[in-house]
């Protein structure tokens, strides 16, 4: 059994079996991470470049750690401080790096579709670590892994995705994944931050009422307000956003049921999540980060296993 694709460009291209395989393999890597020596020699002969054209803390560290735990050789590239700042094109940069014998490219870019473009032009396998407002597949996989760990399965579970859906690659990847795995999905947030045809295109419920959505769901995945991607104001102020769509302790207590709170980070405290919610025992935000390493190990391991076919 192996993945049906040689790149991990998005959840859109994966089958339910692929997702299952990645999550099951991740569970075994999670056990490896509890051992005294948290490292296996699987990818000793693999060289991976982490190509980050956009800022990142969690994802970059998580990928790098995953690669090191798999014994791969790694090179880090960040756009600032490189020749990209001198005007070198993406394809030139990558081809130069690949000429130094690199097998796998992990890539983050602010342009949606950048990894898909690369996949057409270079021989190496590509892992999308977030492209613009398109997809962030490993985040969706680690979210799914964390939900599965808490609830046992994704099938039939009620998952709410809250906040800035419009600018969120995490939202899109999550929607693809959750629908493929048979979960029920509701997206909720201000009308200006929810794309118009989402309901028809993805068969998800759309709500503009946070409280109602929280009452309905088992898990609330709260997204960050991405001010850096908003070219025009889409709500009047952060304070107002917090009052209408933020999640407070008081709101959660009023539900009289314990839902799971997730957030892909970085959190805007006091905007989409209040601190006493983010730090409560209902929140699995730090477990998500922990699981991220195991899930990325699984994805890299399974993709590296596909190399020989080319």
């Amino acid at each position: 059994m192996q993945l049906s694709t040689r790149h991990l460009l998005g959840i859109k291209d994966l089958t339910a079996q692929d997702i299952q395989l990645i999550l099951d393999t991740a569970a075994q890597f999670k056990e490896v991470l509890q051992r005294p020596i948290k490292k296996v020699p699987s990818l000793r002969d693999v060289t991976i470049v982490n190509l980050f054209y956009e800022n990142s803390t969690r994802t970059r560290i998580s990928f790098e750690l995953a690669e090191k735990r798999l014994s791969a050789d790694t090179i880090n590239f960040t756009a600032s401080g490189s020749s990209a700042a001198k005007g070198e094109t993406l394809l030139d940069t990558v081809n130069n790096i690949l000429s130094m014998k690199v097998d796998l490219v992990v890539m983050r870019h602010s342009a949606s579709g950048a990894p898909h473009f690369l996949a057409k032009h270079i021989p190496a396998a590509i892992v999308n670590a977030g492209d613009g407002i398109n997809e962030h597949p490993t985040q969706a996989l680690l979210d799914a892994f964390s939900i599965r760990e808490k609830l046992g399965t994704l099938e039939g579970k009620k998952i709410a995705i809250l906040g800035d859906i419009m600018h969120s690659r995490v939202a899109l990847s999550n929607i693809y994944l959750l629908k493929k795995m048979g979960a029920e999905v509701t997206v909720a947030g201000p009308p200006t931050l929810i794309p118009k045809y989402l309901q028809e295109a993805f068969d998800v419920n759309v709500s503009y009422n946070i409280e109602e959505t929280l009452r309905w769901c088992d898990v609330a995945n709260v997204l960050r307000i991405q001010l850096e991607r908003q070219n025009q104001p889409l709500f009047s102020s952060l304070r107002e956003y917090n009052l209408a769509y933020g999640i407070s302790r008081k709101l959660l207590d009023s539900l009289h049921k314990e839902i799971i709170i997730m957030h892909p980070g970085p959190i805007n405290r006091g905007v989409e999540l209040d601190s006493d919610v983010a730090d409560s025992k209902q929140s699995i935000i730090l477990q998500q980060v922990e699981n991220g390493v195991a899930v990325r190990m699984a994805a890299l391991y399974l993709l590296a296993g596909k190399r020989s076919e080319n």
């Binding site: 099951d24 075994q28 490896v32 051992r35 005294p36 296996v40 020699p41 699987s42 990818l43």
Partner: protein
């Protein structure tokens, strides 16, 4: 197809291996059992159960080890990982590695590498049900053997735990 170990013989062989282990390791204070995933655990389950049946009061330490991530053929063939459960410390312990068929020796090599990442064992021994001698690719020999057989590369040894018996194709 040829039966190498029949159902009755298999019961006797498991009893003999268990008694050999008792002879060398009693009272099992510093000895732990590790079954190799995925197929070695079926033999390991039976050996540990047989020893436990003779000494019901003894607490035997038994773990399962998956070697998928330690294989040397990741780029050739992808194997699905199984669960590793080792809930005890192997530091300074005598470890008995248990697998069903010893063939090229590569699985055991991977198993030893995986094992050593859990700590420095005092001694590692190998117990197998079937030893396909003359097919080794690495210098590895078993300490306890159910049956030694001569076979050629194109043949397959299958341990069928449902019947149970061991057959050569």
């Amino acid at each position: 197809m040829k039966t190498i170990i029949s159902n009755e013989q298999l019961q006797l062989t498991i009893q003999r291996l268990s008694h050999q282990l008792i002879e060398n390791h009693f009272p099992f204070t510093d000895t732990v059992f590790i079954g190799l995933q995925p197929r070695g655990i079926f033999l390991a389950d039976r050996i540990v159960a047989a020893i436990q049946a003779i000494y019901p009061e003894k607490k035997l330490e038994y773990g399962k080890l998956d070697i998928t991530f330690y294989r040397d053929d990741v780029h050739k063939e992808l194997h699905i990982a199984n669960q590793t459960t080792i809930k005890f410390n192997i530091e300074n312990k005598n470890v008995i590695l248990i697998d069903d068929v010893l063939y090229t020796g590569r699985t055991i090599r991977a198993g030893m590498d995986a094992l050593l990442d859990f700590g420095r064992a005092a001694k590692v021994e190998l117990c197998v049900l079937v030893d396909r001698r003359f097919n080794r690719q690495l210098p590895i020999q078993p300490d306890y053997t159910g049956k030694t057989i001569d076979s050629i590369l194109s043949q397959k040894v299958i341990v069928d735990w449902e019947k149970p018996e061991v057959v050569l194709y």
